[in-house]
């Protein structure tokens, strides 16, 4: 018997080497499978084999022998819609992860500081004011929603400032106040303009039924840039979990780091909301579920949540398209319908582990 072997084993176990790539890899595989499934399903199903064939043909690697309308459905309708759903889902999940990291609160979601209500008010104004339908290359509703969301968060940030510092509690309370005011204004405008009620309400419910490559081109650069910024802030968010004062004494310029992360999360969310309306649940639950399954290290959590958010919303949108019914089910209904039981399942399986 030697004592050296157990001691060495204990030392190895005590200092585990991180396998940084694995959660991101798992999430990427999930995203790929979700996209593949979503390409196949719909009111006019295309078999997966035919999907693969059409893609190969697109790159000149196989002779196209599929029906022409299948190709049009796949590349003109289904693919941009899936890409947009992925971008929006990724944006909401990554922004939710960032807000949860910055505010050290598992109940934070991308709409915490008023993006949603601001965007909602902006969109309603675009519907009822006599503005041209298109401003520059952007639809008026999208432009107003994007700017409304950003204006709301800017107002929250200015109202929450106390002298030179921005206490998180003041910020969250200012978010509640501004959200309430914007929501009240939206409700009033919807009430006095009952003729527009259906249009407005269907925008608020959110969805991708009019998604095309144009929307993708507008939203993708903003979301990708902001997601990179938030992913790069992973270590800062890890340090922030000790609280602002300890993070500061560990060398993090807290106020500046928080501002950068909040701006990135807000821009990504506003872009997502302007393209797809107010889709709930993704931004709250996906980062939370990611943390439950893969742990609290924000360096991995942020990119993993982004990929899983994309996969989740692509699947939810596929469900909205494929489920039988007179018309498409709003995707927000589907996210909650799939997400809630799935989330409860994870919570029950992991409930012995402290997650915050």
């Amino acid at each position: 018997m030697t004592a050296a072997a157990p001691a060495a084993a204990a030392a190895a176990g005590a200092f585990p080497r991180r396998r940084t790539a694995s959660p991101i890899l798992v999430a990427a595989v999930c995203l790929f499978l979700a996209a593949l499934l979503a390409l196949a399903v719909g009111k006019a199903p295309i078999p997966p084999a035919q999907v693969a064939e059409l893609f190969l043909a697109r790159f000149g690697l196989a002779a196209p022998d599929a029906p022409a309308n299948a190709e049009a459905i796949l590349f003109q309708i289904r693919l941009p819609r899936i890409v947009l759903a992925g971008i929006v889902g990724g944006a909401l999940a990554v922004a939710g992860a960032a807000y949860q990291g910055v505010f050290r609160n598992p109940l934070a979601d991308p709409y915490l500081l008023g993006v949603a209500s601001g965007a909602g008010l902006g969109a309603v104004l675009a519907f009822i004011l006599p503005v041209p339908r298109h401003l520059l290359a952007v639809g008026a509703v999208q432009a107003f929603a994007f700017l409304g969301g950003i204006a709301a968060v800017a107002a929250v940030y200015l109202l929450g400032r106390v002298g030179g510092s921005v206490p998180t509690t003041a910020l969250i309370l200012a978010g509640v106040a501004v959200s309430a005011a914007a929501t009240a204004a939206t409700a009033y405008l919807m009430y006095v303009r009952g003729d527009q009620l259906l249009v407005i309400y269907s925008w608020i419910l959110g969805g991708f039924n009019v998604a095309g490559w144009q929307e993708v081109r507008l939203v993708a650069p903003v979301v990708l840039l902001c997601a990179v910024v938030m992913a790069a802030g992973g270590r800062v968010m890890n340090t922030l979990q000790f609280g602002e004062e300890q993070a500061e004494s560990l060398g993090v310029p807290v106020a500046r780091a928080m501002l950068i992360l909040i701006v990135a999360a807000t821009l990504a969310t506003a872009a997502a909301v302007s393209a797809a309306g107010l889709i709930g649940f993704v931004g709250l639950v996906v980062p939370h579920a990611t943390r439950l399954v893969f742990g609290h290290d924000y360096r991995q959590l942020v990119p993993t949540a982004a990929l899983l958010g994309a996969a989740f919303l692509i699947l939810a949108d596929a469900g909205a398209r494929a489920l039988p019914g007179p018309s498409e089910i709003p995707v927000g209904v589907v996210t909650a319908a799939i997400g809630a039981p799935f989330f409860l399942l994870i919570l029950r399986r992991q409930k012995r582990i402290a997650f915050w």
């Binding site: 200092f15 004494s249 609290h296 360096r299 915050w356």
Partner: protein, 297 residues
């Protein structure tokens, strides 16, 4: 003493908006390498505020703080964190973090942007854990640790920062006696071996007198007296600052001052001696009894 202090506060004043008097009023304090300085004083006298100013977490309204000869305000946040480490009082430690996560966080100011900790960083963190005798906590979650274990981890995190200055805010609060002594032994050892300048806030006069090279005694935002323990832990100063009359005797082994508190209630007649009694002890007991009587009057 070394020629240049590592960290120096020069005539620093801090005033909070709602407070009736300044939290710090023209405080000057110099910390030299290799020395353990104790900061004492009643609740609310400005000890923690002084520590926060020294850490660069609070900018003084008047006066300057200099780190290695340069104004603290001219250093970047991570530059300060490479030289000054803080062990805060009752600090938040995220429950899901393992001991290893906590200690590795001490390397944060040394990491290059977008880079994770290198093997060298991990080696430093491992050594810091071993130095506080907490290697066995590496794989445990902070939520399942005792207060003493968390305190040692925070000390290890501070050591992993490889600082020149270590600031400890009431490092012994909520710890039992062995853990209090263990933490202070470590602080003393680091000040000697790593040539650290250590500033520690204390409530216990005897602990401070036993461990510190110098003691600064504060009241109402000012440092009243600053010097070796024998000069500061004296009945006159303690009466002035705390309003309590105590007796101070030299420790039989070290000669450092030991504070004897006044009796809480009039002492009973001394029990019959079971053996030959030291005459000095008799004097002491009589003194305490007189003191107790004086206080009940």
């Amino acid at each position: 003493m070394s020629a240049q202090p590592v960290l120096a506060l020069d005539a620093v004043s801090v005033a909070f908006p709602e407070a009736p008097r300044p939290a710090l009023a023209a405080v000057s304090l110099a910390l030299g390498a290799g020395r353990l300085v104790g900061l004492l004083g009643p609740n609310g006298c400005g000890k923690s505020t002084l520590l926060r100013v020294a850490a660069g977490l609070l900018s003084p309204h008047v006066g300057t703080v200099s780190l290695a000869g340069k104004p603290l305000a001219s250093h970047r946040r991570d530059e300060i964190a490479r030289r000054v480490a803080v062990v805060p009082q009752g600090a938040v430690v995220p429950e899901a973090f393992t001991g290893w996560d906590v200690v590795l966080a001490g390397r944060t100011p040394h990491l290059r942007p977008l880079r994770g900790p290198s093997p060298a960083d991990e080696a430093i963190a491992r050594d810091a854990l071993a130095a506080v005798d907490a290697s066995h906590l590496a794989g445990r979650r902070a939520g399942a640790m005792s207060g003493g274990e968390r305190q040692r981890l925070l000390l290890a995190r501070a050591i992993a920062q490889e600082p020149a200055v270590l600031l400890l805010d009431e490092p012994t609060t909520h710890l039992d006696l062995p853990h209090q002594l263990a933490v202070l032994d470590l602080a003393l050892r680091f000040s000697r071996e790593a040539d650290l300048a250590v500033l520690a806030v204390f409530h216990d006069l005897n602990l401070a007198a036993a461990y510190c090279d110098e003691i600064a005694l504060m009241a109402d935002g000012r440092i009243l007296v600053h010097g070796p323990p024998a000069a500061v832990v004296a009945p006159s100063w303690i009466a002035e600052v705390y309003g309590i009359d105590v007796a101070v005797v030299p420790h039989p082994a070290t000669g450092r001052p030991v504070v004897l508190l006044p009796a809480a209630a009039p002492a009973r007649d001394p029990a019959p001696a079971t053996g030959p009694r030291d005459p000095a002890l008799n004097v002491l007991l009589t003194e305490r009894q007189e003191m107790a009587e004086a206080m009940t009057r």
